[in-house]
């Protein structure tokens, strides 16, 4: 089944010149295994291709259950010349969370049911 990343992860985007970078964070190890398997540089590039063709680089950080993605050439030369309302790509992390990955119902159930690693208030 297909599931959008927003069900499994949180994310923040940042900018350096005309590159946008994403931190993508699983809530727990079960979720991280799915991100690690399904979220590749090629698939992220394909996800953004209708809008922003450009190379994507991906690094894995199992120690903090995170992926790091860099989307090159995404900001039309940088925030001071980008014509978009979101000139710095602050909302682009949410566009990443729209991306759908392929998981089994059992895998999804496990990732959603497993406790979140972070400490949360009652």
């Amino acid at each position: 089944m297909k599931v959008p990343l927003v069900k499994l992860a949180h994310a923040r985007s940042g900018d350096k010149a005309d590159w946008v970078d994403f931190g993508l964070f699983a809530w727990n190890e079960a979720g991280y295994r799915l991100l690690e398997r399904e979220v590749t540089a090629e698939r992220v590039q394909a996800h953004f291709a209708p809008w922003l063709p450009g190379d994507v680089v991906c690094w894995r950080l199992p120690n903090i259950l995170a992926l790091k993605l860099v989307l090159k050439g995404a900001l039309q030369g940088g925030g001071a010349r980008n014509l978009r309302m979101d000139n710095l790509g602050k909302a682009m992390a949410a566009a990443l969370l729209r991306m759908e990955i392929e998981v089994s119902p059992e895998e999804l159930a496990e990732a959603v049911a497993a406790p979140r690693v972070g400490w949360w208030p009652d």
Binding site: F25, F48, N63, I64, L83
Partner: protein, 461 residues
Amino acid sequence: MQGNVRIGAGLGFYGDAWEPVAASIERGGVHYIASDHLAELTLAILQKDRQRDPSLGYARDVVPMLMKLWPLMQALSVKFICNAGGLNPAGAGAALRAAFAAKGWKARIAVVTGDDVLPQLGAIAPPHMFNGQAFESVRERMVFANAYVGARPIVSALQQDADIVVTGRVADAALFLAPLVHEFNWKLEDAKTSTELDRLAQGLAVGHLLECSGQGSGGNFGSQQAWKAIPDLAHIGYPIAEVSEDGSALITKAPGTGGRVNFDTVRQQLLYEVHDPAHYASPDVVMDLSAVRLEDLGHDAVRMTGVRGHARPAQLKVVGGFRDGYKAEVTWGFSWPDAHDKALAAVEMVKAQLADKRMAHDELFVEFPGLNSAHGPLAPLPAPEVLAELNEVWVRLVVRTRDKAVADGFGRLFPWMALSGPAYTCGFHGLNNSSELLGIWPALMDRGAVEAALRVEVLQS
């Protein structure tokens, strides 16, 4: 110093709120505030200020901010380090001294200069660091260029008993690393052993976590529903780091403030604007996050250990800005019925006028705020029958041109359409809304010449 050093986050950008900084001073037990006023884009904004008035070019909010904070800081012996000098640190220092003198306040204000490398850049002609483009393409249009310098000049200022340090472009995290180097007497340029390099990298990571103010304590934290678990953002506490001599750090915030410091908010910020997480270059050390450990202790406290350091790079990063044409933008609303179709028709009328009047432009960018301006074509439009019945649709048109007259005239293409275009419009905005565009030129240059030119001057108010 005996014991740990507590550093509080100041601003995260030019225009950020400083009430949370007051909370960190009053209730956070901090020894230092380090405040990052310069995003990459900020120098472009300051450049426009400086073009209008050569005495400007610095982040002006530093003056009212310190007028508010200084009495609190002085009472508790808190020191303040910032890069609000922007393109004109001397101007910022002079403005601060004058404001303090008018109040009769005594402070030692250190000004760090020397990061401006525009005069040298032409001889070096560095290619674009990301795409390799040749410098010749921008040589005549370059209007500023500043090197990201490291912690050393700030350490020097602190050694001279500065109460306030004002710099221009420094590596953001160096604002936080410097007081740690100063207090713990860490080796900096000559750090060689893994112990020495690792603690510099820990200090850099602390700076990285704190340099974006509320983003380190639950601000701008996202995913579906998750943001709701961050309490009282209206009264967010900016992050505070309690750092030990060995570099290990506890990230927390002032008691009684909003926001949240936990595993999730801290790790989201830890990767922010990092590219290769194993090689994050700064002027002072290369940070390696591949073995970082974040231990959530609960109650807004996260312990960070395991950041590794590698020897500092031979070159410094430079960011330049070059004139890159003009833009003009217009936003305009259309109401039901047929709001979306009418907005599309208005766009076609604008295109026809640009052609009729031969207004040369490189791009006409169109987006629909409320429908797709955040995510472009990745945002699914409503089903046709929903789209057809929308209460209102806004359209934003932006022209990019090398001809200033075209940008200045763009807004004038619109007013007549209020009476002679599609019906039921409102909220036209942008009749006189043209501005110059600046392209960003990231590059590398050898550090020797830059560092030889760095100066620290202490002003006494």
